[in-house]
Amino acid sequence: MQKSQKKPAKMVSYAKYGYMFIAPFFIAYAFFMIYPLINTFILSFKGNGATVDEWVGFQNYQWLLFGGEQRAANSIQNEFWTSMGNTVILWVGNFVIQLVLSLLLAVWFSDVRIKIKGTGFFKVVMYLPNIITAASVAGMFLMLFGNSKFGAINSLLLNWGWLQDAFPFINNEWSGRILVMFIQSWMWFGNTTLLLMSGIFGIDPAIYEAASIDGSSGMHMFFRITMPILKPIFIYVVITSLIGGLQMFDIPYLLHEGTTIRPTLETGAVFIYKYFHQVSPNYGYSAAASIVLFILTAVLGIIIYRFNTDSTAPKKRKAAK
């Protein structure tokens, strides 16, 4: 008793050490995250090329979103919207396949009645493509699907007589996009499967047992038990995939022969990189495009979140309090 009475008087604050220990992170965070973020905002209001240091107000945004009378303005607007269109196409294409596949696998692998053996092994196998760097994956697919008759697939098809001339798998608008969608799904489905599986494993088996005793079918259990309880994880997967998808860069950027990026694969992030990285520094376009992408991601994220969370949930919590 005595001890506890004395303690408050003698209390030494160790908080400052705590702050000191976490300080490096926040310093690094401010330097590498906050400053670039603010600077991007500033840059988006500055010019391009020779006028890179001058304030131009909303001109970059205006050109990107609405174009203008000059050729440059229209050209930038065109390219930006094309790149945004490409981003959406590539994201939807890879996300739908990826989600369906992952959900299916996750349900199968976690189903107590099927009891698949060697789940650990399959998890590793499914996750493996994600470990390979994007550069290697792109290199591999370039070799497989090379445009000319020297590409592996092309040479096979030509040898079998299925093709008369080499098919430009990468340069062709849709086959190129399908390749990117396939690579992205292939690289990321393992990751998504693991996330969904962990969600499903968190569901109380007793519920399934009760359901099966009452005679409900697998389909029924999936839609009535698994999906509703999985919703938070599901939303998390959708939102992270959306953010990742809108920033899709590496594969679309790498998947081309010769020296130029394929215009049909140019995503928003590739657009940003392209203009940022030229000798005539077009920082303004890049920064403005980054901000537009940022706002878009935030808005879409919020919408998805709102649509999918139970609107009565906050009220319940309040009532409980």
């Binding site: 020779a50 050729r71 050209s75 020297f150 022969e257 020296t259 030229q278 000798v279």
Partner: protein, 470 residues
């Protein structure tokens, strides 16, 4: 046990990362042994400068010559070797820093490097974008800073000197090579399909564009559609663009000049299969030559060197390769000049004496330039030395049929090169956009020539907001 292991791991990670940092600094102890090539007294006794090297202030000699170049530039690697062997400068006194993996990568990334903290003395600059560097005093310094003037250069080809000057006429870049080019082709296939037995006979077959096309047709028919005469659209353009009468940009406005006609030429070539249309700088390019899909391509001097990654070495497959000793050179329909690398001085140069010695060795020293040419098969920027090498018949390229001397073919063209007022700082980017739009026209992305030209102009306008593009 686990904790101990973890602690050990973390500790070693920390030590390694610290070591990694100090490795990045261009100065290492090798710079202090001083064999007479450094002039800085501060360094002659130096021992404590691992820290000093981290941010060597400009103007202070760090004893190590840093050459900034891009990954695929094998010229510089060979130059370092030859320079160190013949002058006795220790190899660790010359370090090569690479930025970007090819010329375009170098164009975009060397500027970032120069704006950073890294050490830089000599930088390599490509013809297509040298002007954007030498006209910026925050990036490059005049060669007079390290004591090299125009008069010191030994018999340079005049176009190389003209390109190396900035807007005010100050010499800021010198080239160690001249870059005339010719037509490189498979001599065995030429004999088989065209009955051509020597480079002279081949030249007759490609002496002008009309003959070139007729030969292409003959070849395509004789080989039953297996072999096209020309491999790449990019190579064709390099030769064609030499006939431009104006630069890409005149008075701040884009000038098409003869470029519009090239869409038709390329289309004809592609439709008639005179063109194999494989992408440049791609494994398919080299494969097309090796398996006879294409008879040849236009290649300049720097693509004909002995380096393992030169265009020629890639096409022949190197010693024992499929086309080794089965290729030959002729002049082609018209002479041209393609690219070339210049040596410039970074604004933050600090190892002046060694830098001067290096540059002089390859541009002002007959013996050095001769050693470079004979050692690498590159075409040095010294007309007298080149003439002597051709006259003495001392050069023989083992990758070419019967050890043909490519210099003999390219000699006259080197004298004739005139690029006056035809290069701009925009060239590299514009050339990229142009070839994209031509290829887009060939593969059907753009339905008409006008669409393709429009797309090209759009791309240029977007890249250079300062230019007038009508």
């Amino acid at each position: 046990m686990k904790k101990k292991l973890l602690a050990l791991l973390l500790a070693s990670a920390m030590v390694l990362s610290v070591a990694g940092c100090s490795d990045e600094t261009p100065t290492d102890n090798g710079g202090n042994e001083g064999d007479g090539t450094t002039s800085a007294p501060a360094n002659s006794d130096g021992s404590e400068d691992t820290t000093e090297g981290a941010a060597t202030p400009s103007g202070e000699d760090d004893g190590v010559l840093t050459i900034v170049t891009w990954g695929s530039n094998s010229d510089v690697v060979n130059m370092k070797k030859i320079f160190c062997e013949n002058t006795g400068v220790a190899e660790d006194k010359v370090q090569i820093v690479t930025q970007g993996d090819n010329g375009e990568g170098g164009r975009d990334q060397i500027v970032q490097y120069l704006k950073g903290d890294g050490d830089a003395d000599i930088i390599t600059l490509e013809a297509d974008w040298i002007l954007s560097y030498i006209n910026d005093d925050t990036l490059t310094a005049p060669l007079s800073d390290i004591g090299i003037s125009e008069g010191d250069l030994k018999n340079p080809y005049s176009y190389t000197v003209a390109i190396g000057k900035d807007e005010s006429g100050t010499l800021k870049g010198v080239s160690f090579q001249a870059a005339p080019g010719g037509f490189l082709y498979r001599s065995d296939l030429a004999e088989q399909y065209l009955g051509v037995k020597s480079p002279e006979e081949m030249q007759e077959k490609v002496k002008d564009w009309a003959t070139f096309q007729a030969t292409a047709k003959e070849l395509y028919d004789a080989s039953n559609g297996a072999t096209s005469l020309q491999a790449t659209e990019g190579g064709l353009w390099q030769v064609y663009q030499y006939n431009r009468t104006q630069a890409w940009v005149v008075d701040g406005a884009l000038v098409m000049d003869n470029a519009a006609d090239f869409y038709d030429i390329a289309k004809t070539f592609n439709d008639e299969k005179y063109l194999a249309n494989v992408p440049q700088w791609d494994p398919a390019w080299y494969a097309a030559i090796q398996d006879g899909t294409a008879l040849g391509d236009f290649v300049p001097t720097w693509g004909l060197t002995a380096a393992a990654d030169s265009i020629l070495s890639n096409m022949t497959g190197g010693e024992g390769g499929k086309a080794y000793g089965k290729m030959a050179m002729c002049q082609g329909p018209n002479g041209y000049c393609w690219g070339g690398t210049w040596l410039g001085i970074a604004a933050k140069h600090n190892t002046d004496d060694l830098a001067a010695q290096f540059i002089k060795y390859f541009t002002c020293d007959d013996d050095g330039m001769r050693a470079y040419t004979l050692g690498t098969n590159d075409f040095c920027n010294n007309s007298t030395v080149m003439k002597a090498i051709v006259d003495e018949k001392v050069n023989s390229n083992p990758q070419l049929t019967d050890g043909q001397d490519q210099f003999q073919i390219l000699m006259d063209q080197a004298d004739a090169i005139n690029m006056d007022g035809k290069i701009t700082k925009y060239d590299s980017v514009i050339k990229g956009h142009f070839n994209d739009s031509v290829n887009g026209y060939l593969d059907g992305t753009y339905a008409t020539k006008d669409d393709a030209i429009n797309a090209f102009k759009d791309a240029v306008a977007a890249s250079f907001p300062d230019l007038v593009v009508e």
